[in-house]
């Protein structure tokens, strides 16, 4: 099916046609059906662009000729345009500059009324105030871009602009300012200063140096958190500057300092300033606009009065971390973010990626059109385009810059800003739009990332890299030149490059099938089971072989399951098998054996597809419950049986574990425990290894922890919804004048909540009073009591799973001397000396290094949860290494302290 086929489908209604049609003809796409003249005008403002400089006077004229002139319509149009099209902001500044001129024929009135431009700006300010109240940071920052340009254009007074930026710098001095708030405020000030600094520096009241100092102090205060999110993992360094990466505040500061040093000489030709083409404004004729003074409102902390039974706050506030970006290309190829131009270009591209997340196809188109909004010569002209007459251009490669920025945002730690699949799909769209130019940029990026694997690319980034690689290849015929990596087969099989190849191919197979992927490989790889398995990832039914001592037992269970016998019958049959086995006296671990046989049989009848699995589980839930019993050991047996049945297919291990948790056969803590008890990393490939985790084990852990956290989230929403419903019905009764609220049967008005439906309820942030109910009112409502109980037990489970994870990591990386299993490398791989010698590392060292990586990732990913429970978790989890001074124990504690905010 070809891609443009979609547009051939019959359409009903023009609305769907407009965005379904996949042709990128801009003129067609913009044939919008706006209803009112106001909407048409707004549309015209937003559309500004094919040749902005020429269009501006026409647009200004059109705005003026609108009858009646509606200032709010104009300002709203500009506000939408500015906050949704950051790359056009300089041109909207120019538009406002034009609207500042007195129109012909208006002379008589000019002395009494202010210019249209000023009126629009006054109204625009109201919108800005709205963004401030909501703390909509991106919109705030983009409005500041506009204000900064207008300051250069002499429309806004320098003093009021510098006061505005000062207000954002002031946020950084707040006591206990959250990192997210701090970064956003700092970026607003930094970008505002880069744009307007040149005129501000000339002013006598310049506070530029002061603002830079404030940002610098703030940046120094958040020093340690940077150590946990660097894209190149270094276990020993204390430096926040790592080669080929940059942190956005560090870089912003560097840009500002350089500009300040040169008195902002460099700034003027760094970005378009179309408004400078117009004659200077005469300040005596029309005084510049004074931006009103502002105070950045404090963050609203929503309290919902829900605490765990130990009294901890269970609310999760997503933690923000410093933003590090990987540099895949040199400064000749892509803009250097440490220059004013480079910094603003990256900011523009990242904002575009963020804003157009709702439509990746349009996003790709806009990104590839980006150069037309830049100073001419910024990017190399398209192949075949006329060679421009000027020579001084930077001639960067647009596609490389865009792919670098998209990947930079995909590889942010601990999480990318959007789901990783968005970035993956966006790069796919870019490649489809311009295969001949984006394709090579993607190829080069893959090679750069691949070589970074040998120099400590963070384990989570490596995992996302493999995920992207596989998904990308599945969109482009799996055509990668694997041959060039054949020499790396000489590396240790656990070298990050080797694990990358293995994982990428495993992910490709999941999206496709074994034979298809195998065919894409050169022979040396096809024959290396450390690269790709030699068979399709099917099930391994251990008791299928007639030679197996339990063959008959397994067959008898299978017959019952295939005959759809009742779960009770199967259970009693299993009991009798057990008795026989015990009586024979030749078998040890009879219980475990029976569990293993039964699970293998059940999985066998469910092995044909995901749906078959669900059907098998659902039909035999009582059987599974019977097998799982109440003790931990039997649950471990079940998980082990699953892992052995699907030993060739890790995707299925993930899926079955997930569904066993979903059907509550096992708990997340069981899965965490099992994972650490059975960790071998990729060790099954080469015999027994010291305890270590690979990306596969991390996936299991993450699945379990997310399940535990997700359940708490759902339970919390349910409680909130029930409380709200309860309050609403009380209020209704009161409103209807019912005097005897007590006799009113509130419950009958409530629809019963079923599992599943509650997940769709969107809880509007309830106010404190709405949620805070005295205990007795909760007891009036049995559903609420049940929900609160569920919440309490789920937070207990959540805490248990987290604590078990910490314990597990301690036993892998810093086991107390008394522990049975020791990993001698846990201490050694953390030193600089060992790292410099990594070319000598064998599988054990690399496995251990990766395990350290997953520990760091665990701490930074789950830091919001860890913070809530830091007292308990810190005590329980680290009990075994309390007071230990071994380097490994110290590094574990330090990492923990940074993640929980106990180390500045």
């Amino acid at each position: 099916m070809s891609y443009d086929r979609q547009s051939d489908r019959p359409h009903r209604g023009g609305r769907s046609r407009r965005y379904r049609a996949d042709d990128y003809d801009t003129h067609d796409r913009r044939r919008e059906a706006f209803a009112t003249p106001e909407d048409i005008l707004k549309g015209e403002i937003i559309k500004l662009g094919e040749d902005a400089i020429q269009e501006l006077p026409r647009l200004a004229k059109q705005i003026r000729e609108q009858v009646p002139v509606s200032v709010p319509v104009i300002s709203e149009g500009i506000r939408m345009a500015v906050t949704e099209q950051p790359y056009k902001i300089p041109y909207y500044a120019a538009l406002l500059r034009l609207l500042h001129d007195t129109a012909e024929g208006e002379n008589a009135e000019s002395s009494t009324t202010s210019s249209l431009g000023k009126q629009v700006l006054e109204d625009f300010w109201k919108g800005f105030q709205g963004y401030l109240d909501k703390l909509a940071w991106r919109e705030i920052r983009l409005c500041i871009h506009l204000f900064a340009h207008l300051t250069v254009a002499q429309i806004i007074s320098i003093e009021s602009m510098s006061a505005l930026l000062q207000s954002f710098a002031a946020v950084l001095d707040e006591f206990g300012v959250s990192y997210g708030r701090g970064r956003n405020a700092a970026l607003s000030a930094i970008e505002g200063l880069i744009i307007s600094g040149a005129v501000m520096a000339k002013s006598s009241s310049s506070n530029t140096t002061e603002i830079i100092k404030t940002i610098q102090n703030y940046n120094d205060s958040i020093y340690s958190s940077k150590l946990l999110v660097q894209p190149m993992m270094s276990l020993f360094t204390e430096s926040r500057f790592v080669k080929n990466t940059d942190e956005v505040l560090d870089t912003g500061l560097a840009v500002l300092k350089a500009l300040d040093f040169s008195e902002f000489a460099e700034a003027s030709d760094s970005f378009p300033q179309p408004y400078l083409d117009f004659p200077d404004l005469d300040p005596t004729e029309s005084a510049p606009f004074e931006l009103p003074a502002i105070l950045v409102p404090p963050e609203v902390i929503e309290l919902d009065g829900l605490a765990t039974d130990a009294g901890e706050d269970a609310q999760v506030k997503k933690e923000e971390w410093p933003h590090y970006f990987l540099h895949l290309f040199d400064d000749i190829t892509t803009p250097d973010p440490a220059t004013p131009t480079g910094f603003l270009i990256r900011s523009n591209i990242l904002d575009t990626i963020d804003i157009f997340e709702i439509n990746r196809k349009e996003c790709a188109r806009l990104l590839l059109e980006y150069p037309k909004w830049c100073v001419p010569g910024t990017f190399r002209p398209k192949p075949g385009a006329p060679v421009p007459e000027f020579e001084s251009g930077k001639n960067w490669q647009l596609e490389s810059a865009v792919v670098e920025a998209v990947l930079g945002s995909l590889f942010l730690l601990p999480d990318s800003t959007h789901k990783s699949v968005y970035h993956i799909a966006l790069i796919t769209e870019l490649c489809k739009l311009s295969p001949s130019t984006v394709g090579p940029a993607v190829g080069k990026s893959i090679r750069k990332l691949y070589s970074a694997l040998a120099d400590g690319l963070d384990v989570e980034i490596a995992r996302r890299f493999a995920e992207w690689f596989a998904a990308h290849m599945s969109n482009f015929g799996f055509s990668w030149v694997w041959k060039e990596w054949v020499p790396d087969l000489a590396l240790s099989e656990q070298h990050p490059k080797r694990t990358f190849m293995r994982r990428a191919l495993e992910f490709e197979i999941r999206l496709s099938y074994h034979d298809r992927v195998l065919k894409t490989l050169p022979e040396p790889m096809q024959n290396d089971t450390n690269v790709i398995s030699d068979q399709a990832p099917g099930p391994t039914f251990e008791y299928e072989d007639p030679a197996n001592p339990h063959y008959d037992a397994a067959q008898s269970i299978l017959d019952l399951l295939r005959g759809r016998s009742k779960a009770e019958e199967v259970l009693s049959h299993i009991e009798s098998l057990k008795t026989t086995l015990e009586a024979s006296g030749t078998h040890v671990h009879v219980d475990s054996t029976i569990r293993s046989i039964s699970i293998h049989c059940l999985l066998s009848i469910g092995s044909r597809s995901f749906s078959h699995l669900l059907n098998a589980i659902e039909r035999y839930l009582p059987l599974l419950r019977g097998l799982a019993g109440t003790d931990t050991e039997s649950k471990q047996d079940i998980l082990s049986a699953v892992a052995s049945f699907w030993r060739l297919n890790r995707q299925m291990v993930n899926i079955v574990f997930d569904k066993l948790m979903q059907y509550q056969i096992v708990d997340p803590t069981d899965v965490v425990g099992w994972t650490f008890e059975n960790v071998t990393g990729d060790a099954h490939l080469s015999g027994m290894r010291p305890m270590s985790l690979s990306a596969f084990e991390w996936d299991l852990l993450r699945g379990a922890l997310d399940k535990a956290n997700g359940r708490v989230m759902v339970a919390r929403r349910k409680v909130a919804a029930l409380r709200k419903e309860h309050d609403d019905s009380v209020a209704r009764v009161k409103a209807s004048g019912g005097a005897d609220v007590g006799s009113m049967e509130i419950d009958t008005e409530m629809k019963p909540f079923k599992q599943g439906t509650v997940q769709h309820i969107i809880v509007l942030a309830p106010s404190l009073t709405e949620l805070f109910l005295p205990d007795d009112s909760a007891s009036e409502n049995p559903q609420l009591t049940v929900a609160l109980k569920a919440f309490a037990s789920l937070t207990r489970e959540q805490k248990g799973a987290l604590a078990r994870t910490i314990e597990g990591f301690v036993s892998c990386l810093a086991p107390p001397p008394s522990a049975g299993r020791q990993n001698p490398h846990a201490q050694t791989v953390v030193t600089e000396q060992a790292w410099e010698n990594r070319s000598e590392w064998q599988a054990d060292e690399w496995n251990t290094w990766e395990t350290w990586g997953w520990y760091r990732h665990f701490c930074r990913t789950y830091s919001p949860y860890l913070r809530n429970y830091q007292e308990t978790l810190g005590t329980v989890g680290f009990a075994k290494i309390e007071g230990s001074t071994s380097p490994a124990a110290k590094l574990m504690k330090k990492t923990w302290n940074i993640a929980t905010g106990q180390e500045a």
Binding site: G13, V421, S436, A471, S474, G710
Partner: protein, 224 residues
């Protein structure tokens, strides 16, 4: 938020033509839907492949995940017929799939996603006359991932094959069973027109039919 472009997560003109639910109610259901209809699948694509792709849009930390996958089957043969339903636990996950997965490839075919009112018994089967999907009924192209020719075309081909098979059923052996064909040119010239059919694009499909299950329609083959 979207004044510049149209979001991709809006319901399209896809609908369950047999749904008896009124329009307003349908829109309401769609605005909360956790179910997606997935179209243009290869008949060979497995649930696990679908799971792998769609799990990228799951938000387990928010109580989400893939709840179930219902494979669309041919009513008569009970084999996959090129569509499925993916049901998540949350609406946001369904929207994410609309934004990030719809229009990308799975098993080397561009698939499409649409918000669905929710699975009902019976909807797992194709509604075409031949048991598969309606679109495969009248399809004119050869699509190896979806059973080759469209069902109607297949029936027509079966008909042709039957004709071919019956055509020589009366063939005989022995002298005189094969005609001589006439002698050399004598008096009048006849125009020699080649009866050999030119190579048509469809011939490509004949090769693929032999074993390749994937269809390589990469207009956008990428140069690395």
């Amino acid at each position: 938020m979207a004044h510049v472009v149209q979001p991709l997560d809006q319901p399209s003109n896809y609908k369950d033509s047999q749904s008896r639910v009124e329009r307003a109610k349908q829109n309401d259901l769609l605005s909360k839907s956790t179910t997606l209809y997935i179209g243009n699948l290869s008949f060979y694509t497995t649930e696990e492949q679908i799971y792998e792709l769609f799990t990228k849009c799951a938000s387990p930390e928010d109580g989400g995940g893939i709840k179930r996958i219902i494979m669309g089957l041919d009513r008569n043969t009970r084999t996959p017929c090129g569509f499925c339903f993916v049901e998540y636990y949350t609406h946001a996950e369904a929207l994410a799939s609309m934004k990030y997965v719809s229009g990308t490839k799975l098993d080397e075919r561009i698939i499409r996603c649409d918000l669905d009112l929710g699975y009902r018994e019976g909807r797992q089967f194709g509604r075409g006359k031949s048991g598969g999907q309606v679109r495969d009924e009248h399809r004119q192209d050869y699509d190896p991932g979806r059973g080759g020719w469209g069902a109607q075309a297949q029936r027509a081909e079966a008909e042709r094959r039957r004709e071919v098979e019956e055509r020589y059923a009366d063939a005989q052996e022995g002298p005189g069973a094969v005609a001589g064909g006439g002698g050399d040119w004598k008096e009048t010239e006849t125009v020699d027109t080649s009866r050999k059919r030119g190579r048509s694009p469809e011939d490509e499909g004949d090769n693929l039919r032999l074993g390749h299950r994937s269809r390589m329609d990469d207009m956008e083959a990428e140069r690395m």
